[in-house]
Amino acid sequence: MDIYLPIAEVSVNWPLLVLLGATVGFVSGLFGIGGGFLMAPILIFLGIPPSVAVASQASHVVASSTSGVINYTSRKLVDYKIGAIMALGGVVGALLGVELFRYLRLLGQADLAVALSYLLFLGAVGALMLYESLGQILRRVRGEVAPHKERRRPLWLYGLPLRMRFPRSGLYISVIPPIGLGVFVGMMSAIMGVGGGFILVPAMLYVLRMRAQVVVGTSLFQIIITTAMTTVLQAGRNQTVDIVLSTILLLGGVVGAQYGARLSGRFRAEELRALLAIIVLLVGIYMGLELFVRPSDLFSFAPGIAE
């Protein structure tokens, strides 16, 4: 039941990969996220070289996001205008990120960059999300009314030039913050191999203050463009995309995503968020742990050969 992966140059158990794809797909459908943050660490744990894992699973994110966007488009819940502007930033970010990652690999510091980004971003987002959703659950249990939300928009965002109207999101803001957000997420996508939904969604909700209904669909649309760009760049610049690996993951992933999406209606939003927060936090801590635990072997091979 093993299959040899031509680019990763290792042989893996393929039913296990299908199952992994299905599980991550299920999680991504359930929470409306790409699931890349979960997939990359598990692939590395299974013995796939990290650079191949990060690059190959990006196309898994493309597939699950495509499914999602089609779904949200049919319900008119995608703001293509702001999505395209963020994607523009995302493409620039992906270009910068792939070059940065290439340079870090040559320095032998790619592991450090990956571990640190997981620890920082997943740790911070997971902790914030857990705090917020637990608070909401507690209030509901106690029967309290949610405190009045501060709806005033931050001045620094709205004082910027180049303002544009985004009717579907209910916004009239400068294009600089969405582009900046896109660049940031594009870079993360290249370094961590994630779509970046877990950063995008809160940023779009709380910083850009878009209408909540269009946030997930629009973020998925932006993620398709950014991760598609990352995949092409990783293949073109680093030759680290394994089409056999990504296809196996895809097959499980798209099926899992559909079942996850169906099940998500049965839970309350804050319960789902609390659960997602725990997963995000655990993955962040797991990936960051290698910085603090004494390695079993002090030496290791660094990928990439200086040209």
Partner: protein, 269 residues
């Protein structure tokens, strides 16, 4: 500062006794492998090849057989984790050259019993005698009036690094030494197994079968082995290497198509 050992000549240049004419009074060895080509396809999980041969030994003195198989050389970059302010960080990568991608020895006895250190080093036989070096780290200096002393920038760590290359490869089953790997099945007939793990690099492998008598090499037989990707694996690999941009675009299109197809199929249900 550890002085790098003077590099021994490569095994290929070692004077192999001329054995062009079969003579009955001379000690010699002949060998062959069950497979001269190993094909890496989608079901590849490593391969086990049997190397077999015969020893012609008309003399009364016993002879030892040593089988050496080496894969294609490739530079490796090694990093060492060090603790800085409670965090384990990688050092700068050190480039090592001369490390074969695969290396195994099999012999009738431990190598140290068959021949002495100098002889093994000269022939490059044994994991400890590989010519692994970090040329970018070394420079020649004059020390205590002695010219052309080779010192390494890695200083005392140099041997640790060098040993780590071997240890990491041994952990991946790429380096292997079996002091009982050559077994005599009948008088003068021996066999040894060459186990290639799934991570074995592709390329040309060289096998040397040495015959030692009283610690001296008396005969050698050279064989080659090719490990290559075949079928769809080869096509995919070559496509990814030669047309990387089209390959990337294809991957993305495939992913988008799968996502689209999934949403179509599941909507109908």
């Amino acid at each position: 500062m550890i002085q790098a050992l003077p590099p021994p000549p490569p095994a290929i240049e070692a004077p192999a006794p001329e054995r062009s004419v079969a003579t009955t009074d001379q000690v010699r060895v002949a060998a062959a492998m069950t497979d001269a080509r190993v094909m890496v396809d989608s079901s590849f999980r490593g391969a086990s090849i049997v190397l077999y041969g015969a020893v012609f030994n008309p003399t009364a003195r016993p002879a030892d057989v040593v089988v050496v198989v080496r894969g294609p050389d490739g530079p490796v970059r090694l990093v060492k984790k060090t603790r800085n302010m409670g965090v384990w960080l990688n050092s700068r990568p050190v480039l090592f050259e001369g490390a074969p991608g695969f290396y195994m020895t099999a012999s009738t006895r431990p190598l140290g019993d068959i021949a002495d250190f100098g002889q093994l080093r000269r022939l490059g036989v044994g994991v400890d005698h590989l010519r692994i070096a970090a040329p970018e780290e070394s420079r020649t200096v004059t020390r205590y009036g002695v010219r052309d002393v080779v010192v390494s920038r890695l200083g005392e760590d140099y041997l640790d690094y060098r040993r780590a290359v071997i240890r990491l490869r041994e952990a991946a089953a790429l380096y292997n030494s079996d002091p009982k790997g050559v077994q005599f099945v009948d008088k003068g007939l021996f066999r040894a197994e060459v186990d290639l793990p799934a991570v074995a690099p592709t390329g040309q492998y060289f096998a040397e079968v040495w015959l030692f008598q009283d610690g001296e090499p008396v005969s050698v037989s050279n064989l080659t082995l090719t490990v290559e990707k075949v079928g769809i694996e080869r096509d995919i690999f070559e496509f990814a290497q030669r047309r990387p941009w089209s390959y990337g675009v294809l991957c993305v299109l495939l992913a988008m198509f799968t996502g689209w197809a999934a949403s179509r199929i599941f909507r109908r249900n």
